[in-house]
Symmetry: D3
Subunit: 215 residues, 6 copies
């Protein structure tokens, strides 16, 4: 923890002064274009992966990058999504899963969660993803981690569609949904294609094109 | 959004290769020492502020850096805290609020939240913070934003103590709690001191000392 | 009510004897192919509209033909859908809304529901449908009853997809979803087409074709 | 399912034209006298059994003809009952169970429901019926299906009494409750007598009398 | 508060020694015959009113002597009733309301509860009592305090019947329910008679008879 | 039960007349200084232990003297605490556990609660107390009853702090919290000291001093 505290000192002495103008401008308000929902996993740094600056991504993180479907019972995700869409007016929502996810491993073997009652309950929101894989493969075991991770991203996109603010903006094309899986060991990002129910890599070519188009 | 996608291309081409060994090592598992709970606000980059690397902070983010008190009803925060403490064995938990927080502004004027039913409900978990300020000041208005932000951090620490896994580790000194408020425009971090119910800045001296001690 | 009781006498004396064999066979079990979800409205008789016999439709009815999205909290719809799909193995699920629906009128003017707290809360599950219409039309008023009725059917199909048993069977094509709106005054049935987000009548031609194909 | 679709064609071509006037009149509103609550079971056709026409019965159906007791948490039954009594002003409420009910079988052997978490939870609303039989018989097994089915109808009547709108109308005699069990194989309907806690058949004589009185 | 602490000293010095044997015997376990449910109101002392000794009454108290109806959601009352009936085997359950009850006054004027969200919600469990009075009297106002207090006791008895453990014992006559209203200013106790839906005083004669019979 | 009813006769004939003036005064309202939260256990008589009169203690009782932490979901404890603090203005809150508590025994061996689903769930609010002892002792068994009873009182004080009305008054010193454990067999009362996390007896000296000071 001392390391973290001294990191702040370093930030204040070495980093902040260089970006002081930018931070001062940000002090008055935020206008993020993207709501980025990802796992709490310590190995994921959304700003690093997307090479974005403070002010660009409104970020929600929990174990398993779960989006509970809308209900009248409020939770942190439901409230924060409402805020992002209805108040901040984000135009894109990314649900980003990742390789080696502890939550997905738990979803695959609920019997391992006996002493973790809340984790077990929370992963109830991933149950449909597991059942899809079970139906497709005939069974579900540790080998199906990647499938379940992908299906979970697809499921959470479905859940997003049940939230009133999201549904309204989707109906008029004012919001777009994106499902990603980030591979920690390779840096690769897979993108979910809904019509085909499949994940495909953002190829270098595509990315370069986008990169160029942006330039 | 194109900007974000091209950022990934840049990350993969320019950043990942330089840290490839580190990422490959991380691919097999995480051992974060710190659970870092902060607001979803786009202007907060925990890794930047603490100058930490992937793998160091297990990060939970929602509107208002709220920790609902423990109950038998599971939510994303409750489940993720259980996972962080009981499975990952984090030894420090930071609740980090910030200046100009939209959630805190909402907590101050619930009448502005009529069309945001879930945000309003979610901020029910901040109500005790507002009531404390109302009791102390005689009323609550926009001017009390900083007070409510600080009291909210203090309240969420109280909520953390009601979670079984946290309470158990606190009783034996295996976990420590920290309450911070980050100032977006100045880079300053205030630290909550529970006995005196007050916030004080991490002064340069202290930070330098810690920084030196670490070196 | 006397009319209803004497109807039973009539049923027992005049109707049952003619179908006694069929009823005796049904006494041992059911194997419905279709889960039919519709409004509690007294003017809808699913068996009459579809000209089906006892044993063909597993029927769930509530005000507004609502399907709450899946959550760990159980309700009658969630439990009954689980039973229909996982135990009975239905292969088709129809959500059937209707013209002049009192629940949809309530969803359009929540201020009229002040003295009906539970109806108001229940229609929270239709809120996304109202918000879609508001976003599309710029406002929402009594004129938009048909739009909201259609969007509500579309929304409840989305909710169905969040239920684990349904999601699993959808992924392998073992279950199909259908969204209908029944017009009480004309007998017409509109069918929801998801790709185009539009409703179109089951035309006589189509129906005749199906009817012929079946013969 | 083709059979169901072609049934609609048949309905539109052969049935609707004969009743067109009646349907057109119904198109403008409903005034049902009876709220009819029954199981989703495909073998039960309330209109057939009671020989009633569209517009006469407001019908709620779920697995087990369950009426959760009133609570501040809203569900489909609670909301629909409120609507039926407070808005439509029904004067009779029938809870109609039936022979060979899958839900009652599940209530009798909860261990069979391990893979059906929501069904199991939902049948928590029938637990008092099972406990009554256990207390009376010393144990509960498959043989007690009829007893549990009857007790369940009695219990759901008790639950109805906890709903504010129902309680209010009961206190002034404006609503009457009826508990029935329908026998699929014989067409018989048993009626629950609260003072004696017993079920007795609607005898032909009684029915004939009512039938005559009505004529 | 000093008064309360010094009261303990007085109890230990003057009262306990006289009953030491009895207390020592009680130290090993309890076998209360009666579950006594009453309001938290400071003016009600169940032991004083019933002239009973420690060990005789298992006592549950909350604002309004409310018994939420049974549901799968657990609360303190539901759990404690389960414990009293299933573990301790109490044979009588008394619900005891009282004159000048603040909770009943709140139930009569919910508009006075705006700043007391939890009290308002809790009194949702008394809503049926208020609606009964409204239906009977045509309106509800402060004058109807006694009626609402009586109806509330009657309603909570209904709620008790929905609890599985209670229902089971009621069915076999092993538990009896009693509804009382205690008048603070006169010491009178009214008893609810269910068949006639009315309250009548325990007259001196009756009480004397019971008192004599007991002697 | 006859004994209880005849006790009332005795109360009305022998006790009430002597205190009639006091009761008549109380009839118009209550102004308790202390909110006293204790177990439903029949062996605890708060008025006897503290030698207080009607009107002095606002008393909440449930199995295990549990105070659920504040949440938006309302329960009897949450509502009654809100009423006691915000309406009645109590200045002291006592949580009083006791020796030989059945609820604490249940918390120690949850496997014994299989047939008591609500008790088990309710004791979820004591789980942090059990986990603290498990962490401190390395395991938890029947021998740790006293430790768990003490930790449970400490935990419920933590829960109290999460309630808005309590938190507000604590911040300005208008309310004080007290944690006690009453020993049924000895009459002793232990007091929880938060800084040292330990319980110590109210010694005769202290009590005498207080008693004298009051005199
Ligand atoms: Zn993860
Ligand atoms: Zn914020
Ligand atoms: Zn309808
Ligand atoms: Zn059935
Ligand atoms: Zn009261
Ligand atoms: Zn106890």
């Amino acid at each position: 923890m001392d390391h973290v505290v001294s990191g702040i000192a370093k930030f204040q002495k070495e980093v902040f002064p260089q970006k002081a103008d930018s931070f001062r401008e940000l002090a008055g308000g935020q206008q993020p274009e993207v709501l980025f929902i990802t796992c709490a996993d310590s190995r994921i740094d959304p700003s690093l992966i997307t090479q974005t600056e403070p002010g660009e991504l409104f970020i929600l993180r929990n174990a398993g990058n779960v989006v509970p479907p809308h209900s009248n019972d409020t939770g942190g995700m439901t409230a924060s999504i409402e805020y992002a869409v209805a108040v901040l007016g984000v135009t894109h929502i990314v649900v980003c899963g990742h390789s080696d996810c502890g939550a997905m491993k738990g979803a695959l073997s609920p019997e391992s969660l006996v002493s973790l009652p809340h984790v077990k309950e929370w992963l109830g929101h991933c149950r449909a993803a597991v059942e899809v894989v079970r139906e497709q493969k005939g069974e579900v075991c540790a080998e199906h981690l990647d499938c379940v991770t992908s299906e979970n991203v697809a499921l959470q996109l479905q859940h997003l569609r049940t939230h009133p603010a999201v549904a309204a903006k989707l109906a008029t094309g004012k919001v777009q949904l994106h499902g990603w899986v980030y591979n920690i060991g390779t840096g690769e990002v897979l993108v979910y294609d809904e019509p085909t129910r499949s994940m495909s890599p953002l190829t270098g070519a595509e990315l370069a094109a986008k990169s160029a188009a942006e330039a």
